[in-house]
Amino acid sequence: MSALSTNAGGPKGLPALISGQILKLIGLAILDAFGLLLFYAFWFSGNTALALIIAVITIGMNVVIFVPRLYPLRWMSPGLALMILLVIYPLLFTVSTAFTNYSDGHLFSKEQAIALHSKATFTPEDAPTYRFTPYVNKADPTDYALWLTREGDAGTEVIFAKEGEPLVVLEGVEPEPPEEYEGYRPLERRELVAALSVLETAQFGEEPNTVTVVSAARGVAARSLQRYVWNAELNGLEDRQTGLFYAADDETGSFIANKGRAEQQELQPGYWVGVGFNNFRRFVESPALRGPLVQVFVWTVAFAFFSVMTTFVAGLIMALVLNSPDIPGRKVIRSLLIIPYAIPGVISILVWKGMMNPNLGVLARSFGINPPWFSDPLWAKIGILLINLWLGYPYMMLICSGALQAIPTDIYEASSVDGANPWQRFWNITLPLLLVTVGPLLIASFTYNFNNFVVVEAFNKGGPPIPGTLTPAGYTDILISYTYRLAFGSGRGADYGLASAITIIIFAIVAGVTLLQFRFTGQWEEVSENV
């Protein structure tokens, strides 16, 4: 106990207390500095929500440290900070994204999109032209610059143009290119050929005031102009090259120009806007979206249900078989039987995938079992359920044997006195009692399989694909893998808004089932008692 009281009172206590206080303040100051830095950086870059979350966490930490009443929260602050940033914020983000058109082509805010387009340049026909001499940075052979000269009424205009930096008009210098300028030297003739492709595509100067090489062979460069100019009054971008006017459509987040009578042209990228319930409505209104979604949903429920059923039946049988003192080496057998559960899931699925390989796999070659596992919708579904049975029955076996042992034996004795046969005993005693304890875990297993992304993705990426769908979807796709394909699927572009809308639907279903589970087991009461 003496070790515990070193800090308590005594002559040493006060300085220790003060230095502890100082240490705390220093730590807090560092934390605040970081919080402020991140807040400002996120705010400036347009990540308003992320900035606000950082602010909430930082302010929360300070309050918790300075208000003695909140002492318990100090203990939780690291955990709560992690949860706020990585659980609560993503949840809110998902919910709010579901009501936007956030997707490829609509990833920026309106301001960001306008700023991006304002950087685009073009070289008009009558643009001022310059003669140029290419320069290269002595320290960095990939950094080029141009020495530009132009004969004008008021003498020769001389400009030194670097990439990405504002054009510098040089006053009072000889137009003759010098041997060295600000660490740059003229390109030698033999270097020029290699540099041509870079020189002809590079923009010298800072957007939108740039100079581009028109003809490297003739040594001619021209002044470029800003191509798109924002017109706040008309709410659109003027294209100074083509004369089109791209009106900003705040309903869809696109810049649309009317070109000719019925022809429209869109300027990419657009920006994200709130679209209300559109993402949800799209499923109802568009048959090409609704078709696969209904199919995916039905299969998700069927997959989760059959997975639970098959694994439960197999696991229960094994638990019953092993639940006998007459079997020697039960522990060893059980250890062997849980191996499928212990092997990392991804690996198991891939091994099965190899064994099921058409014509080459062991099932086809040695056992003659060679159905179209990967190309036929029905066989793919059977295959995935078979793998999931292998993966999941040890879990069911474990929980069933636990529950079996908890059933008091005197009930069985009483029933055999009454003349019940084993079959009756199983249906009337074992199963009902078992379901009382295992039931909630079956529901949990249902929700787990409802989101069992790994088995679907690793087996066949949700395939075979459903033909004629607007969004990529396969016959074995479940909701979560369908969402993944919407968000990260290649080819047709990511649609985060739609993906988030489906995520919310999944969440609602999972939360509903979980609530059912709580009701079923009275876990809520248990929670309130424990609390």
């Binding site: 106990m1 515990l4 009281s5 308590a8 830095l37 991140l38 950086a41 996120f42 705010w43 400036f44 870059s45 992320l50 009443r69 909140l70 318990p72 929260l73 955990g79 992690l82 949860m83 990585l86 659980v87 914020y89 949840l91 994204t97 094994m318 078989v321 007459d326 057998i333 250890s335 062997l336 849980i338 499928p340 990392p344 991804v346 690996i347 198991s348 891939l350 091994v351 995938k353 390989n357 080459l360 070659r365 040890p394 474990l398 929980i399 636990g402 529950a403 908890a406 304890t437 909630p440 875990l441 993705e457 690793a458 979560i480 969402t483 990260f488 999972v510 876990q523 929670v527 309130s528």
Partner: protein, 320 residues
């Protein structure tokens, strides 16, 4: 004894024999079903031909130990430029150890507070933590992806927002951005916080409060009580939680695949997945070798800890 009871005993014995035979038949079938893929992957790993089509259960034409290890040599030595297996192994161990240790420590702090302090809003906070857990963080992968992306871009944002800080190298933030192990660790920790807090609150609740009260009478602070008294008491069970969290993290595939985009940052599961999906038939043997190396330690850990795992699985179910 009369003859009637004798004959009944004989019938009983015959039934018993039948029952036992039936039990063993089921056991044999089940063990065969459970172990067949395992045996097959063993065989594939040591089969020198290394491809799917020519694999036989007993490797054929093997003359030396050297030949038996063809796939392992290919995986661990020859192919490391294309498939950096050692990187994957290292990444997995790194991510899983840090995640499990930090998760246990941070969650233990919260759990201790929930278990030992009484404060306003405690109940609501506990229920909130539990409720949030219903939302699996895998569902939020889009949001998590975008958060990490923005964290990674901080090294660009800070000099833009605050030009006077331009001189400092902020690329340190990309250690927690997209395609970084640090970012993945953060995501895992956030996702595991709720359930672990609940789990450990239960452990702390099982330690009698008299212990910390008497320590506090002796002048111990809360921190000292926690760190020197309670924590050592629950350390064995926390170790089990840490090991399970370690295994779970190694096995995790979905988030790792979304967050890690670069061959050298992949974890074992992402790497092995991509290894074999590149060319299933050709790299089968090397994949099997990698699978064997990755799965064996985990299976051993699992079997060694099976009683604790079963206890954890059935805790909620067999309580009443």
């Amino acid at each position: 004894m009369s003859s009637r009871t004798e004959s009944r005993m004989v019938v009983g014995g015959r039934e018993k024999l039948l029952e036992l035979t039936l039990r063993w038949v089921v056991i044999v079938i089940a063990v065969a079903f459970a172990l067949f893929p395992v045996v097959w992957i063993f065989s594939a790993a040591f089969n020198p031909t290394g491809n799917l089509a020519n694999q036989t259960l007993i490797p054929q034409g093997v003359d030396s130990l050297d030949e038996l290890l063809t796939n392992f040599r290919g995986l661990l030595v020859e192919d490391v430029d294309i498939h950096p297996f050692w990187n994957w192994l290292g990444n997995s161990i790194f991510v899983a150890s840090i995640t499990s240790v930090l998760t246990v420590l941070v969650a233990a702090l919260s759990a201790y507070a929930f278990s030992r302090f009484r404060f306003a809003g405690r109940r609501n906070l506990l229920v909130l933590v539990l409720l949030i857990q219903v939302f699996p963080n895998m569902l939020a992968m889009v949001a998590l992806f975008l958060i990490l992306q923005q964290i990674g871009k901080l090294s660009e944002y800070i000099p833009q927002a605050l030009p006077f800080l331009e001189g400092i190298n902020w690329s340190f933030f990309s250690l927690f951005g997209l395609n970084s192990l640090g970012g993945l660790i953060l995501v895992y920790m956030g996702g595991a916080m709720g359930i672990n807090t609940w789990l450990m609150k239960g452990f702390f609740d099982s330690v009698p409060r008299d212990i910390d009260e008497s320590a506090q009478v002796d002048g111990a602070s809360h921190w000292q009580t926690f760190w020197m008294l309670i924590f050592p008491l629950v350390r064995p069970i926390l170790a089990v939680v840490a090991i399970l969290s370690f295994i779970g993290t190694i096995n995790e595939f979905v988030l790792a695949r979304v967050m890690l985009r670069d061959k050298t940052t992949w974890t074992l599961m992402v790497g092995l997945y991509n290894y074999v999906s590149d060319n299933f038939a050709r790299d089968w043997g090397k994949f099997a070798a990698g699978a064997l190396i990755s799965a064996t330690p985990i299976v051993i850990l699992y079997i060694a800890l099976q009683d604790q795992i079963v206890g954890g699985l059935t805790q909620g179910a067999v309580k009443g």
